[in-house]
């Protein structure tokens, strides 16, 4: 049973990590806490649902089709609502603005899709494979693997492409990045867009194994925050490690203590890291 528990912990941890990445990127580069992160996940789930329901496109494919739309959405929000705020007020004002947007998104979703619960039921939703005596459902397996691929892909984007490096450079030193020829303003807009895309993609990938309703976003936010802190703010590998540690720790706590203990476990981890290594598990400097 213990191997099964750990394997399952890792699989859910990968999904947790994907949920956190959009948040950590936006916070890392712009020091903005995006309060509508959960709602972006929710919109991603609905996008996946609609494309699956109407056109039969698998969420694992449609996340790539809808990404440009979410990029534009995120960029517009940053360009017109957050960027014009004077820097001195931005840290907290952006909190209110993104909170307001979260209300707007959630209610709009209710008007568009009603408050009904939706699910994406794939043709192979009941199929199971067995791996080291652990039964893993295909949707769970594919979603976790997709998460891993996305995280690795994003890591490569951030380390191997000019744009990715420009984003990191901007995060580390705006002024110096700008004299390298980086249009810092545009990179900030793009980073916000990317953060929203990552949240929406996480939603899409989550849709086959979770349920969807307009207010589902709030379920993910605290989890995502926990991982951002565990892994270190702004760090992609940190989010991955943080997600897996959280997944496994929760699984172990819920097995050997009581199931309801797992959340307390998560917060004890959270506080412990904050107190003893506020820069996150991988710690040190801001790293990728």
């Amino acid at each position: 049973m213990i191997t099964s528990i750990i394997i399952n912990g890792i699989l859910i941890g990968l999904i947790y990590a994907l949920l956190a990445i959009g948040l950590t990127v936006i916070f890392g580069v712009m020091r903005i806490i995006n309060m509508f992160h959960g709602e972006a996940v929710m919109l991603g789930m609905y996008a996946a649902f609609v494309l699956f329901d109407k056109f039969g496109i698998s969420p694992y494919i449609s996340v790539f089709l809808t990404a440009p739309i979410f990029f534009v959405l995120g960029s517009i929000i940053y360009k017109f609502l957050i960027d014009p705020i004077p820097a001195r007020e931005r840290e907290i004002t952006s909190l209110i603005i993104t909170l307001g947007i979260s209300f707007i998104f959630a209610t709009s979703a209710m008007y568009i899709w009603s408050a009904d619960y939706r699910t994406v039921t794939l043709p192979f939703s009941q199929d199971v494979m067995v791996f080291i005596k652990t039964r893993i459902g295909y949707p769970a397996l594919i979603s976790s693997c997709m998460s891993a691929v996305m995280i690795v892909g994003f890591y490569l984007f951030m380390s191997k492409t000019y744009m990715g490096r420009a984003i990191r450079a901007t995060e580390l030193d705006k002024d110096t990045a700008s004299v390298m020829g980086v249009n810092v303003k545009w990179i900030s807009i793009a980073t916000f867009g990317i953060g929203v895309v990552l949240a929406a993609m996480a939603g899409g990938i989550l849709s086959p194994i979770f349920y969807i309703y307009p207010f589902v976003g709030s379920n993910f936010v605290i989890k995502a925050f926990t991982i951002v802190v565990l892994g270190g703010m702004g760090s992609v590998t940190g989010a991955l490690v943080g997600g897996i540690i959280l997944g496994v720790a929760e699984a172990l706590a819920s097995t050997f203590l009581e199931y309801s203990m797992k959340d307390i476990m998560a917060f004890i981890l959270f506080l412990g890291i904050l107190l003893f290594k506020p820069s996150g598990i991988l710690g040190g400097r801001t790293r990728l």
Binding site: R165, D175, S178, M180, G181, V182, N183, V184, R285
Partner: protein, 234 residues
Amino acid sequence: MLEIKGIDSGYGKIKVLKDITLKIEKGEMVALVGPNGAGKTTLLKTIAGMIVPSKGDILLEETSISGMPPHKTSARGIAYVPEGRRVFSAMSVEENLLMGTYLKKNRPHKTESLRMVYDLFPRLEERKKQTAGTLSGGEQQMLAIGRGLMMRPKLVLLDEPSLGLAPLLINSIYKVLERLNGEGMTTLLVEQNVKKALSLCKRAYVIESGEIVMKGPSEDILCDENVKCTYLGI
């Protein structure tokens, strides 16, 4: 190459530079010296576009670049090598250098540029995978200069390249600068190490409290009593 006509500049309402006029010819290496807080860095930042001057004009090859954001001035060929250790600390050495080829026009020359920098600073090649933040001060300075050179600039603005370095390292960095100047690179060098800077450059400007108080050939400035007094207290 570069012509600055009577600019005022500063941060917000604080005026740091007053009526600065300055000229650099192509292929020239000019020093800008002055005490801490005199406005040297502010001037470089203004040229690079990080600060918009409130008055006056800046011309690069006869076109005004005044008020242009830094990513545009860099596209026009200005490389600003910031003071201190402003390398991208969490990125590797090679990633730092590649940031120098961020501009589209420089991307095709990526490999040659890297080769050139690694030839200039073999230390950097040895440590290309290392995180920049873990380099020693001198290596970070080399990295910052190398990164600027990756931009294949027409004009390099060097901000205190000898800051906090041991004499040996300073010498090796200065040798590189000399060699690059010999190859025709135009440079504006800001230095607190007056003697060094003046020995390298033929011409210099002295700035104090945001004003150019003296300009001319290096030898003249070195002999000036006032300068001696400011720097040596003699």
